[in-house]
């Protein structure tokens, strides 16, 4: 192992410890929000592998998350009447955590298969084709109501396979039993969720890093930079592109599965078209082609949606009195604020968080050399 790699592993270990300790310093509810950040992080790694590294744009990753989420929900469900496919009634088939890899595999397979028609498309046309699956997926779910619960969705709250079920105290929201893992007492469902999501996120981050640092990653980047040059160097374009689609969709499927477990409820609107667009926004904010700075993208898309947009919107009258008395309670106002903030970020930091970090680093090394 090279020295630089050793440093990287060390930094990774430190980051893992920080992630491990974070819930000690934040409220239980914040832990749940950071669990969602972990989920988005996984999805962003997957999307970036396809879009940032391999150069295949996807506006449809919400659909792969949907497949993952519904795989988990259907395998865990105890709907009344039970969901049915080919005569098999799904009732409490599996425990939640065992459905996660299955959800990844199902989504990965669909992604791999989608990779074949996508071979014929590039650039804008690929973006449109992937956008089409994001648009169609919720409608398809509604069409097969007997299998998916239709528009009403699937409620996983009372399901037997749910870990952390009925151990929550009604008043304090602390568990009455809890569990000890590696000497750490996990007291609430939200904490359990946090550790579940981030353990998986760190493992999948490590896998992505290992995949991309060697020959495989080099090949994918070659496909991105010039398909012609890659092909003339002996790269099997079809193989690597479909593989990238499959791996990317696997990541999205795992993220979708975790989203279903975290929300304890799925319906077609859990995975709207906006989700696919938010994922792309997250990748761009994190930095196309980067890996760990995607955390910033994940933080951005989660907190921007639920909190920051409202706050930014409330601050607008102070910053821009020229707009006069605007109705900050108006429906859609947070979405407008979101758009404005996004434009400002892209103007200031076109390379996203990764680009910002790069320029900071070159700045410090330059001044360091000058000082010497």
């Amino acid at each position: 192992m090279r020295r630089a790699d050793l440093v990287r592993v060390g930094v990774f270990a430190l980051a893992a410890i920080a992630v491990f300790l974070l819930p000690r310093f934040i409220s239980d509810f914040r832990a749940q929000q950071f669990a969602y950040v972990g989920i988005y992080f996984i999805a962003l790694i997957g999307l970036n592998l396809l879009t940032g590294i391999t150069g295949q744009i996807s506006l449809g990753h919400g659909a792969f998350m949907l497949i993952g989420g519904y795989t988990t929900a259907i395998l865990m469900s105890n709907q009344d009447p039970p969901l049915e496919l080919f005569g098999h009634a799904f009732t409490n088939d599996l425990r939640d955590i065992w459905t996660i890899p299955l959800a990844g595999l199902v989504a990965g397979l669909v992604g791999f298969l989608f990779g074949f028609p996508a071979l014929r498309l590039t650039g804008l046309y690929l973006a449109l084709a992937t956008f089409a699956i994001a648009v169609a997926a919720p409608a398809v779910v509604k069409k097969f109501a007997g299998f998916t619960g239709g528009g009403g969705g699937i409620n996983l709250f009372d399901v037997e396979g749910r870990t952390g079920r009925s151990v929550t105290d009604p008043v304090t929201f602390e568990s009455t039993e809890g569990a000890d893992i590696f000497g750490l007492h996990i007291a609430t469902f939200n904490e359990w969720l946090y550790y579940l999501c981030w353990t998986i996120a760190l493992v999948m981050f490590g896998v992505a890093w290992l995949l991309l640092r060697g020959r495989f990653g080099r090949t994918l980047r070659a496909v991105r930079d010039s398909e012609l040059a890659a092909a003339s160097s002996g790269v099997d374009l079809a193989r690597y592109k479909t593989l990238a689609f499959g791996i990317s969709a696997f990541y999205a499927g795992v993220a979708g599965s975790l989203l279903a477990i975290a929300t304890t409820f799925v319906n077609p609107d859990t995975f709207p078209i906006a989700l696919s667009i938010f994922l792309l926004v997250g990748v761009v904010v994190g930095g196309l082609g980067s890996l760990w700075p995607l955390v910033f993208g994940a933080v951005f898309i989660h907190f921007m949606q639920i909190e920051w947009a409202q706050r930014a919107e409330a601050a607008i009258p102070d910053f821009l009195p020229i707009l006069g008395d605007i109705d900050t309670d108006a429906p859609g106002a947070p979405a407008v604020a979101f758009g404005v903030v996004l434009i400002l970020i892209m103007l200031a930091f076109p390379g996203g968080a990764a680009g910002l970090l790069r320029s900071l680093r070159s700045l410090t090394t330059r001044s360091y050399r000058r000082a010497r």
């Binding site: 409220s27 239980d28 509810f29 749940q32 919720p138 509604k142 239709g150 528009g151 009403g152 969705g153 409620n155 709250f157 009372d158 009925s166 929550t168 009604p170 008043v171 304090t172 929201f173 939200n190 929300t263 304890t264 409820f265 799925v266 319906n267 077609p268 609107d269 859990t270 639920i306 309670d329 429906p331 859609g332």
Partner: protein
Amino acid sequence: MRTLRLALSLLLLAGAIATGATGSTSADPGITPKTILLGGTAPLSGTASAYASVARGANAYFRHVNSRGGVNGRTITYKFVDDAYNAVQTVQATKQLVEQDKVFAIFNSLGTEQNEAIRPYLNQAKVPQLFVASGATTFGHDFKQYPWTIGFQPSYRAEGWIYGKYLARAKPGAKIAVLFQNDAYGKDLLGGLKQGIARSKVKVVAAEPFEVTAPDVQSQIAKLKASGADTLALFATPRHAIQGYVFANRLKWRPLIINNAVSSASNIMTLASEGNTNQSVENSISIVFLKDPTDAKWRTDPAVKLYRSIMARHARGANAKDVYHVYGMAVAYETVAVLKAAGKNLTRASVMSQTRKLNDASNPFLLPGITVRTSATERFPIEQALLQRWSNGTWKSFGGLWGYRAG
């Protein structure tokens, strides 16, 4: 060694007593000597944003009560957040209200699927799901499984039943075509209608479902027209109900139209009339249980006057003609009554026990004669309504109160 163990166990015991003691004296979340915090979701944006007025009306009434000293010395804060009528957002927002904002109860959250999605969670956490803004039968019917949940408005089954009974009496031999939303709400109305016309000559000749997310209902209306029906029942929320009127008119179909109460607000009827060019709205039938502020009958009614003054003071800029504000005030009035009856020592359990013995004929925003009533075995607070007919741009109620009788 032995003394050490003894000392340790004593210490543990002391710790247990200490934590136990603090646990029993602390009040339920969301309650202080001066305040009560209620939370809920409302569709402030999205397809059902017409219902945002329900939350705004309730909030205006709470402000009015607060300005008069509150309930037993406590002021009420009602935090309502947008869920865009999307059940997933309802779940997330509700968890945030319960776990982060630590609300005392979830109040007046709107929508059938939305409330079904949060019901298991709230019941496990033993947080009251107070006066659900949905008439789906399950919220009153399944109280054994979900004791922390109670509805408010007439159940959709009761509403459908009233239409059925009315048609059996007023239009024997009617052939009904039904457009219904494909969920518990639409199916409850259809089921009630069929129950009401049982043993009569009235028949449902066609019933077409649509998904709540469907862009329009044009093809459904065309199929319903082809059935040869002379009566059309619109069991749909405002957007689709308006489309029902518009498409029926375009197809030059003039049935008697029954429009369910969730879409019968005057402003929605005015929209459906397309600037008085669509005559199909004329003579529509619906039920009413609130004092409609646009009905000339209530012009001098003290409750409607109070309503107008509260709107002017606490909901500035809102359209006071919108009857959903009245709904919000009616449900807020009942909540204040319940909180008052639960006394100074307010707990989640004491509030729920009050909702199981309602017997209140004094709610001024409801039609005279309507009693809000529940018991240990009966959890449908409002089961009475009047019929009303749309003519020349306003609703006019007619006949006496209809009271739903199951079976």
